[in-house]
Symmetry: C2
Subunit: 375 residues, 2 copies
């Protein structure tokens, strides 16, 4: 259907929610014409109306008269993914089938139980999502610059892996090859356990008084932002990665027990020196420092320490525009920005991150233009 240096395979997308519809939009932008399928006629026609591809037959209905797929992308909820993948592998003996579920081991386990031909199956996981769901929230740039994990093993046909990776690159992703176990262990630590921790911390706020919760600052806001996530989807994800999440969570719980023990020693021995207790607390914070430093910086590079320039910004239209115009005129590239709003006051502080060498020139430029700042 498309031409170019890397011709795209004929793709069928099964499941036209946020991820499936976004893949459709991105593939059409890349010149392909994907076929859309869903259990729900409303969901598949909505995705078509939004420009994600052309309508195939409703899932489970006769598909005569439609071009046979080279690649089937199963983007259904994780619970029904194995059955849909197995069915696609049987229906189209020449096709590669992939899925996009955020757990990989349990899908493979179920496919083995279902007797599916695994040499044409390539599990994958685009590391992208939104706080909203459904085709209506889809966007063609959802995957741009994001990792797309591809899980193959020695039994997987090389041509199948190549088809999946071609599509991953076509939608703008960066391919990362991991085994299913490596994938599941990684997402347990970088995604599933952080989600549970955010939820458990947020739940502690529920019984607080208005006065108490009014003391919440930026720290707890950051820690609990993802606690607004959907319980239904997360129950499927956590249940599907139970082993890996349990392993990471148990290690966290063991350290937590040590911290609670140290706090008990300090609490009951308020006037004594509670030997060893402070070392446990200091170690917990220091280990967190070490782990935090492992997170890569922007653009996938090694962690970078940016310099911070803080600017007082009135909370009215045009003030941030004026600030950014002034930064742009100074010829300085802004690396990151955090807006910090005051409590009950009509202004905030914009914390502007720049490469360290640019901080001095930026401060000079902003002061010369009348901004109030403090380094």
């Amino acid at each position: 259907m498309s031409s170019g240096a890397e011709a795209l395979p004929q793709v069928w997308i099964i499941g036209t929610g946020l991820i499936g519809a976004s893949i459709g939009l991105a593939l059409r932008r890349a010149g392909a014409e994907p076929v859309l399928q869903d259990q729900s006629v409303t969901a598949m026609t909505l995705a078509r109306d939004l420009g994600a591809g052309r309508l195939g037959p409703r899932l489970g209905y006769d598909d005569d008269g439609h071009p046979e797929p080279d690649l089937v992308v199963v983007a259904t909820p994780p619970d029904i993914t194995p059955a849909v993948v197995a069915d696609a592998l049987r229906r189209w003996p020449g096709a590669t089938v992939t899925d996009v579920a955020s757990v990989k081991g349990v899908i493979r386990h179920d496919l083995v139980r279902l007797g599916a031909p695994l040499e044409r199956y390539v599990g994958s996981h685009p590391m992208a999502g939104r706080e909203r769901s459904g085709a209506i929230a889809a966007r063609p740039d959802l995957f741009e610059g994001r990792a797309w994990v591809v899980c193959a093993d020695e039994g997987t046909e090389p041509a199948a892996v190549e088809r999946v990776e071609r599509v991953a690159r076509a939608v703008g992703s960066v391919v990362s090859r991991l085994t299913p176990d490596e994938h599941d262990a990684a997402v347990a630590a970088v995604s599933h356990v952080p989600q549970l921790a955010a939820s458990l911390v947020a739940a502690r706020l529920e019984p607080l008084s208005e006065h108490a919760v009014g003391l919440a600052g930026q720290g707890v806001r950051d820690v609990t932002r993802i606690a607004a996530s959907d319980p239904g989807l997360w129950t499927q994800i956590l249940a599907g990665n139970a082993g890996s999440v349990r392993a990471v969570l148990t290690s966290l719980r063991d350290e937590l027990d040590g911290v609670i023990g140290a706090l008990e020693d300090l609490e009951h021995g308020l006037d004594e020196d509670a030997p060893g207790a402070r070392a446990v607390l200091a170690r917990a914070i220091a280990d967190g420092n070490a782990g935090h430093s492992r997170i890569p910086g922007k653009h996938g590079a090694a962690p970078t320490a940016y310099a911070l320039v803080s600017v007082v910004v009135d909370d009215r239209p045009g003030e941030l525009a004026r600030l950014f115009a002034d930064i742009g005129e100074a010829g300085i590239n802004l690396e990151d920005l955090r807006l910090d709003h005051g409590l009950g006051l009509p202004f905030g502080v914009a914390e502007v991150s720049v490469v360290p060498a640019a901080a001095g020139p930026l401060e000079d430029a902003l002061l010369a233009r009348g901004w109030q700042l403090h380094s």
Copy 2:
């Protein structure tokens, strides 16, 4: 020393680190002339050089020839705060003494043991801080719009409370009255437990491979941002609030044990239905939803749902300037902004929050100016 509708008391600041020096800068901006004291001549003269006030005698040295304070603000590390407060109460029988430690019960407990005259002591806690420490990081706007907790009881002189609150308002804070126990329970939930959770989650990243940690997205970055905090200071804070932190942490640990149990049921019964296990997981996420919704929105108002407009922004100087100029020209007030950088790609996505009624007009305005966006 100063005039105006609310004359400021003569303030001595003992301890010229980040908080003490920032109070000095803010009070000078408000027209007062605070006296600075520290154990370290370097620390107090640096704060003086930065404009935080005028030099008093070095802490512990003779203070003849200096005006007697109306209010002493003790801004030392929490560990030595009670001894410094008790000494100030003895030295100046007409003065009010406050401290700014982020724990309140243990300070009061120690003052009782030291036999200090508590009617002139008012514990307080300005809810402000930075990721950097020392006078060099001080800024006069550090407290603007932030809560300043004031802890008084029936034994406290009303005039003493009034002096502390006048200074809190003078530096731009919003006064919040709590008892020491209420304060300590509140900060355990909104600050100390989130800090420990962030540290414990971040520590789980330490042993990961480069590939695994490369999958880190915005979620884990937000959850672990404060894991970069200082172990020495946090050991003092956690040890000083051991009882309240232990209580919140134990409740978290109990729910965590339930989650681990549910995951074990699901892990060992991979092919069975593990009765009740999914309900435990769904409840953990749903309880997090409920707690998260308690966090007040910006400006201390009730939580507000803003509409999100996402814009693709090239990663070069001037692009954000152009975006903000266009938003400003559209006459629309930006409520919040999050920059989301792609992995290995030369652009990012700016997620712009506006009041819901402004989202449509903003999208129209940005599309008309050639921006690529998706709602």
